[in-house]
Amino acid sequence: MEVFLSPQAWLSAGLIFGLRLSDMSLDTIRVLFVMRGKKAIAWVLGFFQATIFVVAITQVLQDLNNPVNIIGYAAGFATGNVLGMTIEDWLAVGFIHLRIISPRRGAAIAERLRDEGFGVTEIPARGKDGMVTMLNCSVKRKSVEQVRQMVNAVDENAFITREDIRPVRRGFWRV
């Protein structure tokens, strides 16, 4: 039981937690960049992640009889993962394709988005209760929330879905 009381044990567990926290947040961001095909950033993140990982795992393996170390390792891993997701959300790198379906106010929404500088393609389509408009709009990921608010300001009931895309030919992207 004395392991739990010695300040040294807690110090090493805290260190391991901190190391894993940083390497896992880097790792999570790296995986999300790999999915978007950003090779250079993925290399840099991978390099630092692997370096910190080796240091952390060596620390844990030095004293495996200290359960606080193992808990610190696992908690650091889990928290770093979530922290990485939060950072990645905040960076919001990449592009999103928005598909907006509006029963009546499609043209109004398209006008509103164009006024703000977004590129919109309108397609007439048919839904359960007659004609609807399907709007296609590809934007930077940072703009998604802004577009959503603009769409809902015009039509509260518009149906909006998003998907991650990669531009094949860079056309018009509102900055």
């Binding site: 999300l32 889990a78 998604v144 909006i160 998907e163």
Partner: protein
């Protein structure tokens, strides 16, 4: 003989631990991609805990090559098991794009009859006008919708992609 039995036992234990931690890891990555933070934390904690225990068992006896084999086989198996678990849970939403040459309107009616929301667009294919149907559903409904489409038009082309709802509209549960 008891010695040999002990060696096999530790290799099997390592195999099982690795299957556990890697399947958790696989499901965790899929949760990360879908932005589920709380689940990612819980899975990550369990995964790292099991991983350290397994690693410790391997490193305590690196001379036993069965241990190393068990470690590697556990990793590979865990990866596949994780994918199977994730397919079974099928969290998230899918967008289905259905192209039918003659029977688009009927397919749309059939899907609406089953409670799904469908948007029809007319398009042109090699042999004239076709209908492009757009239908956003919960991922675990994808196979059911595919079956509904095939009841009407066996030739229909159906593709699915992962999507995120920005504003939640109509999703048949």
């Amino acid at each position: 003989m008891a010695g040999v039995f002990g060696l096999v036992q530790s290799a099997v234990l390592i195999f099982i631990l690795r299957v556990g931690d890697v399947s958790l890891a696989t499901v965790r990555v899929l949760m990360v991609v879908r932005g589920r933070k709380a689940l990612a934390w819980v899975l990550g904690f369990g995964q790292a805990l099991v991983f350290v225990v397994a690693l410790r068992a391997v490193l305590s006896d690196l001379g036993n090559w069965l241990n190393i084999l068990g470690y590697a086989a556990g990793f590979a198996t865990g990866n596949v098991v994780g994918m199977m678990i994730e397919e079974r849970i099928a969290l998230g939403h899918s967008h289905l794009r259905i192209i039918s040459s003659g029977r688009g309107a009927e397919v749309a009616e059939h899907l609406r009859g089953a409670g799904y929301a469908v948007t029809e667009i007319s398009g042109r294919g090699k042999d004239g006008t076709v209908t492009l149907l757009n239908c956003s559903v919960l991922r675990r409904r994808v196979m059911e919708v595919k079956d509904l489409v095939e009841e009407i038009d066996r030739q229909a082309m159906v593709t699915a992609e992962d999507i995120h709802p920005v504003r939640r509209g109509f999703w048949r549960a």
